[in-house]
């Protein structure tokens, strides 16, 4: 994985020193809150309901054991023994004292981590497919490009005060696991007919109060032009993006208001000025960054098949986990493992200090010291020999992280909601927990099949509800929490925004409503292979509306 060079070390150390000084000046009263607020946000420090919150960057979701162990240490020493993995592949701590943050940042810097640009109107953590480097279906690892974008965008003087925040995602596979079409810029790494690497470029996707699916503005951008083209997009946005209204300031609004054709024209015109200048990526530089992401030396482990076969017969729990949480690796003797942070009735995305340390141990022992955070709020071991899967499973059972529910209805994305967040209008975690408990039976979940349920506690949509097959949005109405349901959203290569199905539900009603939706689907699907999203796209909202609201119409 990527290792800091001298420049990176100096840059992060300098920032730790600078922000530590700013914290000291704030605590001593030398600077006011108004002066300090933008500085703390640039360093990932928010003020939430109960305390400060620190958001730490996990570039493109990649971690090693030492780094995860340090996160566990921070959870124990400075927080309340746990952390929350987010949909930007980052981690948040909910209770740090401001006075401890300089020490936390120093600890992070010691393992090549930081909290820079995890907030503010700048280019945020670049996310990538969590199976990058391992997936059997990718043309190349997208992370070297994410790293190039990280280096380019870190304290970029021109793009540190954009109209609004800016999010980029990269995938290297046709099957999009990085939700690129919900991003300000989505990059799909692919090969052209000549076998050259480049990108399909999508612009103007986003969620929040105005969800938009990104538009493809270029089918093939040669890899050497990555930075010049992104610069062109950012320049057009920085110049024309709205600054008069925070809610209309994202690039998705500019793309929508300007039109795809005109935006494309402007970007291409700007790019013509830039493409042959200093932003052109030298081949040698790309390959040098790529070398940092060279896959581990995967030796042949042909004993895996027999080991897995025997272990399957021995343990149903292992067999279920294998079917649900283990996916094919490009090397036939290996597999990629999803460690579910969605235990039944647990808080989605939370992990304790000791779980983090134990997972770090597992990664070091069985997974070439590589870990990923997925935007679906799980952890990933991208390279595990099939022969070691049983040992990994047993180790995960010991720490309560072997729930076999990846991509099932209890694998819920949920924002922190009103239990923590100062912007939230309703709670989301308790709803996720209740739905998870209602569908606790793994047998039932597997019968239902792939179903992405996502919950946000306010219209900002951090819980990605717009692109959930079933989305739940919590709002406040007349002093109570009310939950609106959307159906038919999706965040893959066929991205769609879900449609509101009808009136909202109280916190007491919402789980019953979800169950009714699921039962309706089970009743109308053509066969068990027809997924919820495919069935919804075939039949539309009518049967679901009928199931949820028909009684009301008759009563009225």
């Amino acid at each position: 994985m990527y290792r800091y060079d001298e420049f990176d070390h100096d840059f992060v150390q300098a920032r730790v020193a600078e922000f530590s000084d700013q914290v000291q000046r704030r605590l001593s009263g030398e600077i006011t809150e108004d002066q300090f607020r933008p500085l703390r946000l640039m360093n990932g420090v928010y003020l939430q309901l109960h305390a400060y919150m620190l958001r730490i960057a996990v570039p493109y979701g990649t971690l090693n054991g030492k780094q995860l162990r340090m996160l566990g240490h921070i959870a124990r020493k400075y927080d309340k023994g746990y952390g929350h993995f987010t949909t930007r592949q980052n981690i948040q701590f909910n209770w740090p004292a401001l006075s401890d943050i300089p020490a936390i940042l120093a600890d992070l810097a010691s393992v090549e981590m930081h909290a820079i640009q995890t907030s503010g109107n700048c280019i945020r953590n670049v996310t990538a497919d969590h199976f990058a480097g391992a997936a059997a279906d990718e043309v190349a690892d997208p992370r070297p490009y994410a790293e190039i974008l990280r280096q380019w965008s870190s304290v970029h003087p021109e793009f540190s005060f954009l109209p609004r925040k800016f999010k980029i995602a990269v995938t290297g596979a046709e099957r999009d696991r990085a939700a690129i079409q919900t991003h300000d810029i989505g990059l799909h790494l692919k090969k052209n007919a000549a076998g050259d690497l480049g990108f399909a470029v999508y612009v103007g996707g986003g969620q929040g109060r105005t969800p938009m699916v990104a538009k493809k503005i270029r089918d093939f951008l040669p890899e050497a032009d990555l930075l010049s083209y992104c610069t062109a997009i950012l320049r057009v946005y920085n110049l024309h993006g709205r600054r008069d209204n925070k809610y209309k300031a994202r690039i998705k609004i500019l793309v929508h208001e300007t039109g795809v054709e005109e935006i494309t024209r402007q970007v291409e015109a700007e790019w013509q000025e830039l493409k042959d200048a200093e932003l052109k990526l030298p081949e040698a530089d790309i390959r040098a960054i790529e070398a940092y992401f060279a896959p581990p030396a995967l030796t042949g482990r042909p004993d895996g098949d027999a080991a897995v076969r025997v272990a399957r017969l021995d343990s149903k729990a292992f067999s279920d986990w294998l079917d649900q949480n283990v996916v094919t690796h490009r090397h036939p003797d290996y597999a990629a493992v999803t460690i579910s942070l969605k235990g039944i009735g647990e808080v989605p995305g939370d992990a304790t200090d000791s779980q983090m340390e134990a997972v770090a141990d597992i990664a070091e022992k069985y997974a070439f010291d590589e870990l990923r955070v997925s935007h679906e709020q799980n952890l990933i071991l991208p390279h595990v020999a099939r022969a070691d899967l049983k040992a990994v499973h047993d180790a995960l059972v010991d720490i309560g992280l072997a729930t076999a529910n990846s991509n099932l209805i209890s694998d819920i994305i949920s924002c922190p909601g009103l239990d923590y967040c100062a912007l939230a209008t309703a709670r989301s975690i308790p709803i996720a927990q209740e739905i998870s408990r209602r569908f606790a039976s793994l047998e039932r979940q597997r019968e239902i099949g792939e179903l992405k349920l996502k919950i946000s506690g306010c219209i900002n949509a951090c819980g990605h509800h717009h692109v959930g097959h079933i989305g739940i949005l919590g709002v406040e109405k007349k002093g109570s929490e009310l939950y609106q349901v959307t159906l038919g959203g999706s965040a893959d290569e066929n991205t769609s925004v879900g449609e509101i199905i009808g009136r909202g539900f109280s916190s007491e009603e919402i789980t019953d409503a979800i169950e009714q939706i699921v039962d309706t689907y089970l009743g109308l699907r053509l066969n068990p292979q027809e997924k919820f999203i495919d069935a919804y796209r075939r039949v539309g909202p009518a049967p679901f509306k009928e199931a949820l609201y028909a009684g009301e119409a008759k009563a009225a």
Partner: protein
């Protein structure tokens, strides 16, 4: 009725103005029962912000339930108690003991 709340500068912990200082629990927060009292609390809040004792100062609605002060809105109830999903953390943790 209104009470004055904020987060303490150094550690960010939610606090309520009570009896001349900032208390870590809401129970005995000073209640403003009229506009004049609200103005007094607001002035105290403005000063405390300027003195760098607290941040995010707000006057919020409250009522008295069972002899103690309780915020009215769910958001403020959660601030006063802690996350509803973890009774072992936040202000409520001390109470259970």
């Amino acid at each position: 009725m209104k009470i004055l709340t904020a987060n303490r500068l150094g550690d960010g912990i939610a606090v309520w103005y009570a009896d001349g200082g900032w208390a870590e629990t809401v129970d005995y927060a000073d209640l403003a029962r009229d506009k004049a009292a609200e103005d007094r609390l607001e002035e105290i809040g403005t000063k405390a912000l300027a003195n760098n004792e607290v941040v995010d100062v707000n006057l919020i609605d409250a009522e008295v339930v069972g002899g103690v002060v309780e915020p009215v809105r769910l958001r403020e109830k959660i601030r006063a108690a802690g996350p509803t999903i973890r009774n072992d953390i936040g202000k409520q943790a001390g109470r259970a003991a």
